[in-house]
């Protein structure tokens, strides 16, 4: 009962604010005379969410796959590069300037190139998401692997522990919370990348739906697509938070 109270105290302000904004939006759309194609009312957005004119499930499916693919690629490549950087000073010297350069590129600007190289499809959009989201994983992995107390490393040397063992038993678990916090950023970056990819080159997906509404002036469909995108993004973000809770509960505050 007290837990329920605490929960309601935490979330009630958010819910109330959300409802107030929703009501204000509906009132503005109904009474201010703003045209429907500029600002659709919440009710017409709600209707568009379920309307048969767009086959949402197909677009949702495509975009979700792109986002998951982008996320997994960014996580895999990011962790691998981070490990390489922390493992060998030589690799670090070779890779870091290059990675910093790649990161300073406006990655969205590369999307048209992806179209030329790979054409339409799910994969280039995954790649766009991965490109936007991998960098924080590299950095956090490398930092997490290096932030080990010098005394702890001395302890490893006293027992003549091989380098890989120090990695497996000490450095990698130590890096886990760092990696997981980077993955929260990657989760949102993967969404951005997938949508940008669809804007540039796609015939399916929620980003594609949004682009098509430009010509049809069907703004309520664009809003509905936004809602679907944010639901996918929230679910992915929630999954990472859950993963952090399961894999590194010791890194959280004392509860």
């Amino acid at each position: 009962m007290t837990k329920l109270n605490a929960l309601s105290r935490q979330y009630a302000p958010t819910i109330v604010l959300f409802l107030v904004l929703l009501a204000a939006w509906q009132a503005a759309a109904s009474f201010s005379g703003i045209r429907e194609y500029l600002l659709p009312s919440p009710i017409s957005v709600w209707n568009a969410l379920w309307a048969g004119e767009i086959s949402w499930s197909q677009h949702l499916w495509v975009t979700t796959w792109e986002i998951i693919g982008a996320f997994l690629m960014a996580a895999g490549v990011g962790v691998a590069l981070g490990v390489a950087i922390a493992w060998s000073p030589l690799l670090a010297n070779a890779l870091v300037p290059f990675l910093v350069f790649v990161n300073t590129l406006p990655k969205v600007a590369v999307a048209p190139l992806f179209l030329i190289w790979m054409g339409y499809g799910i994969f280039p959009n995954m790649l766009m998401g991965a490109l936007i989201g991998f960098f924080p994983v590299v950095i956090n992995t490398a930092v997490g692997l290096s932030q080990v107390e010098a005394d702890m490393l001395d302890l490893g040397r006293v027992f003549n522990a091989p380098k890989w063992k120090i990695f497996v038993k000490i450095r990698i678990p130590n890096a886990l919370p760092y990696i997981l916090s980077a993955l929260k950023i990657t989760a949102t970056a993967a969404v951005v990348g997938a949508i940008v990819g669809e804007f540039v080159a796609s015939q399916r997906g929620l980003g594609y739906v949004i682009v098509t509404t430009q010509s049809s002036m069907n703004t309520s469909v664009a809003f509905a697509a936004l809602i679907w995108i944010s639901i996918v993004g929230l679910v992915l973000y929630g999954a990472v938070v859950l993963l952090a809770h399961l894999w590194a509960p010791w890194a959280e505050g004392v509860d």
């Binding site: 005394d151 006293v158 027992f159 063992k165």
Partner: protein
Amino acid sequence: MTRTLIDLDRVGMTYQAASGPVEALAGISLDVGAGEFVSLVGPSGCGKSTLLRIIAGLRPATQGTVTVAGRKVDRPIDDIGMVFQQPILLKWRSILDNVLLPAELAGKDAGRLKSRAHTLLDMAGLAGFGDRLPRELSGGMQQRASLCRALLLDPPLLLMDEPFGALDAMTRDDMALELLRIWGERDLGQEARKTVLFVTHSIAEAVFLSDRVVVMSPRPGRVAADLRIDLPRPRTVEMRASEAFGRLSLDIFRSLTGRSAGTTT
């Protein structure tokens, strides 16, 4: 006369800093017998922690030779237990698994050492805490767990670098008593006991624990005095108030500050 375990012969250490070479240690010659409890006291920056790491083979000395158990030290030596100022337990491992870490790092079968780990935890007053995470324990308890970890592989030599320095004064005094109990001053003869080299800032702690107190001078660290602590064992809390304890503390204080008897500031 007991057999010599550690033999330092004119050990010096000079390292390169941005401003030029810094001489941290100079001409340290010291013998430590097996089973002896020796404290190193000295001002901050005198190189006592560095000396401990040189003996462990973790840092190379730039002059002189270090011999431990008859072998010249030129790389990290196993067969030692180390305790640092911080417990440095792995946050994600239970206390028991932290105590078992040396076995895993040294490539020994941790499963077979489990019962020894439990025995050590019981002895250190941590019975029932084996499956807790480090953050669930107080600082003093964590430090006791790190002492158990150092003792897991039953090393003949224990190197302790200000192990109680981060604890509050009361916990610190308790820990000193605990350490002597675990060291076995009551039950073991000197030859059977572990050799302990104990770095501390506290004169009282050094006198209370040790057979010998080696006083080091400010940088470059040299041996300024080597005093035998002839208080009987087992040591008791009451001894802290004895005349002998006070006299020894004063001797160490004078060696540390370089003041002769009777002088005041």
